[in-house]
């Protein structure tokens, strides 16, 4: 049962992810991304990581995809005709298909992840208290670095998007 559920949700996620790439309309692509994220959240639920599933839905599906949609609407990009990949040389196509095929075959024949010892894996994604405790102790430094990362992103956006007024006064 668990395997069946995993397979169904994984397939759903992958199909939605392919939809993001092939959709020519940016709004449809964003909505496919939303579906794909819902699928990933489903996978987390399957792993009993309810907190992560909830956060994923809240932050990514809720906030970030909504932001994507806003920006798509603001930019008003139509799904224009765009150059297709048809001009790819035949040799490159054969090579790519061959490489992907070889990868698949080698996965199917030899690719086995070591069976995880579930007792050793800490269940951090299930409980808010455990999760928060880890964030403020073991992962304190990554959280700090992430804070500075966002600060740089903010400075960069402000500087790069500010209206250009000419440089006569500072020459």
């Amino acid at each position: 049962m668990g395997h069946l559920l995993f397979n169904v949700i994984a397939l759903f996620t992958l199909i939605a992810a392919v939809g993001v790439v092939v959709n020519k309309n940016a709004v449809n692509a964003s909505l496919c991304l939303l579906l794909s994220l819902v699928g990933v959240a489903g996978l987390f639920v399957g792993l009993e990581a309810y907190l992560l599933a909830f956060l994923l839905l809240l932050v990514y599906a809720g906030a970030i995809v909504a932001l994507f949609l806003f920006i798509v609407m603001l930019l008003d990009t139509k799904g224009d005709a765009r150059p297709t990949l048809n001009r790819l040389p035949a040799a490159a196509r054969v090579l790519a298909v061959g490489l992907v095929g070889a990868g698949f075959v080698s996965f199917l024949t030899r690719g086995r992840l070591p069976e995880p010892d579930l007792t050793k894996v800490p269940a951090l994604g299930a409980d808010l208290k455990l999760y928060a405790y880890q964030l403020f102790t073991t992962y304190l430094l990554p959280v700090q670095i992430l804070g500075f990362l966002l600060l740089i992103a903010m400075i960069g956006v402000i500087v790069l998007s500010k209206k250009f007024e000419g440089l006569e006064d500072i020459k």
Partner: protein, 484 residues
């Protein structure tokens, strides 16, 4: 495990100094600098930043207790410390170039982002944990994307930033895929645990996929063929001080980071040649060939430097291969001296740009008459890049090639690569000498003969870089002792 925050702070005090410096620069500029003219704001920002970098250097010296820190998340070994010093020196030189060169708005933001990037490089040098390593890499990369697009008077700058960002984003995605596979294979994000687990497992195709993904990101960071396409556009479009940082400190930190990952994380703990050796050899060979040959065709000085950087990346990849047996000394020596020469060259470009244009090789014409100081410094830097004794570039190449020949003999991949690299060095000499010919022999075009004024700080930075190149070339063993 109960983490010890005092120890953590002591180990990371250089990065803390850099970040506090960055915040101070922005805050002081927004409060005290509002009414000042731009020139004064540049000088003030650079002064604070240089102070922060100097302080970080002192803290690095003080935090020297070697060993793993914070539950194995960091490693303060000789390689980490030497990389930290190198990164700080290169960042300080790039910063010192700023006041004489920049005609951009937002001085404080530029300087602050440089400091953030330096902090990122410094964490990259010490990280022993995939999560922190990735975050540090992104801290540095994000800063560099912003810096590349800082010059809003030129559309090339925006183009450079966009290309760099798109390539960088994709390579970061590859790196994350690779890391998640490594985590899946070993159940840990700590490098020493990963090494132990991988040593105990049989080779699996998943490990190969993970390594390929990591190598894609490495190839991007190092600008190795076939992941080099961003380099010429970024070198051409980015403001010169930003290009100097991208070409120097970012390279040093990137090579330390990825070499550590490959050596200790996924290296040959069982004693055989690691699985990534052959792939790396192919990347190195392709970079050497394409970089050197494409540089011959360039008429744009910055694009020429970019292709020469691709060729140098090939040699550095050779250094990653030899480092498995001979230690990191030669690789770090090479990347650092290469960084010094590149910062210097971009510094000369930046100062010439202040007086006019400096994109094409022809813009160098008559440099010897226009500014003997700049021409002399350019001579040192370019000859070091070409590998002429007694400059440091020669000794770096000599050390790496001799190690490569000893690694597998003449017939192994490293030996072949070393021979190819020696042959292609002759090709490289040709295009480096063309640069020097323009600067020293070709007379200036009418209308551009005016002398170039060189401000004090950039002049000191150039002279310091040239002196370091000479000193490291004459006394290489004292520098190598720091690393080993």
């Amino acid at each position: 495990m109960k983490p010890n925050y005092t120890e953590l702070f002591a180990a990371l005090s250089p990065e803390a100094a850099l970040i506090v410096g960055a915040l101070l620069v922005v805050v002081l500029d927004l409060t005290l600098g509002r009414k000042k003219i731009a020139e004064a704001r540049w000088h003030a920002a650079v002064r604070i930043a240089l102070l922060a970098v100097g302080l970080a250097g002192c803290f690095t010296f003080a935090s020297g207790r070697p060993g793993a820190e914070f539950g194995g998340a960091f490693m303060l070994d000789a390689l980490a410390q030497a990389t930290r010093y190198s990164v700080l020196v290169l960042a300080a030189l790039s910063l010192a170039l700023l006041p004489g060169t920049a005609r951009m708005r937002h001085p404080a933001e530029f300087v602050a982002v440089v400091l953030f990037a330096t902090a990122g490089f410094s964490v990259m040098a010490t990280a022993q944990n995939l999560l922190i390593a990735f975050l540090a890499l992104e801290l540095a990369s994000l800063s560099l994307y912003v810096l590349a697009g800082f010059d809003k008077t030129r559309p090339e700058s925006a183009e450079a930033a966009l290309k760099y960002f798109l390539f960088g984003g994709v390579s970061a995605a590859f790196l994350l895929f690779g890391f998640s596979l490594l985590y899946g294979l070993t159940g840990s994000i700590e490098l020493n645990v990963i090494a132990r687990e991988l040593g105990a497992q049989a080779a699996s195709p998943l490990l190969v996929v993970a390594l390929v993904m990591v190598l894609v990101a490495f190839g991007f960071k190092a600008a190795a063929v076939p992941f080099h396409l961003w380099a010429p556009d970024v070198y051409q479009g980015a403001p010169a001080p930003a290009a100097a940082l991208i070409a120097s400190a970012s390279k040093v930190a990137g090579f330390t980071f990825f070499a550590r990952l490959l050596w200790s994380g996924t290296g040959a703990s069982s004693g055989q040649a690691p699985a990534w050796m052959l792939t790396l050899a192919i990347l190195a060979g392709a970079s050497l060939l394409l970089g050197n040959v494409a540089a011959l065709a360039q008429r744009n000085l910055r694009r020429l430097l970019a292709y020469s950087a691709i060729a140098h990346a090939g040699i550095m990849l050779l250094g990653v291969m030899t480092g498995t047996r001979f230690g990191p000394g030669a690789l770090l020596y090479y990347t650092f001296t290469y960084g010094l020469a590149t910062v210097g060259t971009f510094g000369v470009i930046a100062i010439i740009e202040r007086a006019g244009r400096c994109q094409d090789l022809d813009d160098l014409a008559g440099l010897y008459r226009r500014s003997p100081l700049l021409a002399g410094c350019l001579l040192m830097f370019v000859l070091s890049l070409a590998g002429i004794p007694p400059l440091a570039g020669f000794f770096g190449k000599f050390l790496l090639f001799s190690q490569a020949l000893r690694l597998t003999g003449l017939t192994g991949p490293a030996g072949w690569l070393a021979i190819a690299a020696i042959a292609l060095s002759a090709v490289a000499l040709y295009y480096y000498l063309i640069v020097l010919k323009r600067a020293f022999v070709t007379p200036a075009v009418a209308g551009t003969e005016a002398r170039i004024a060189v401000p004090l700080k950039p002049a000191l930075a150039l002279l310091l870089a040239a002196a370091l190149l000479l000193a490291l070339g004459v006394f290489p063993s004292s520098a190598l002792r720091l690393v080993t």
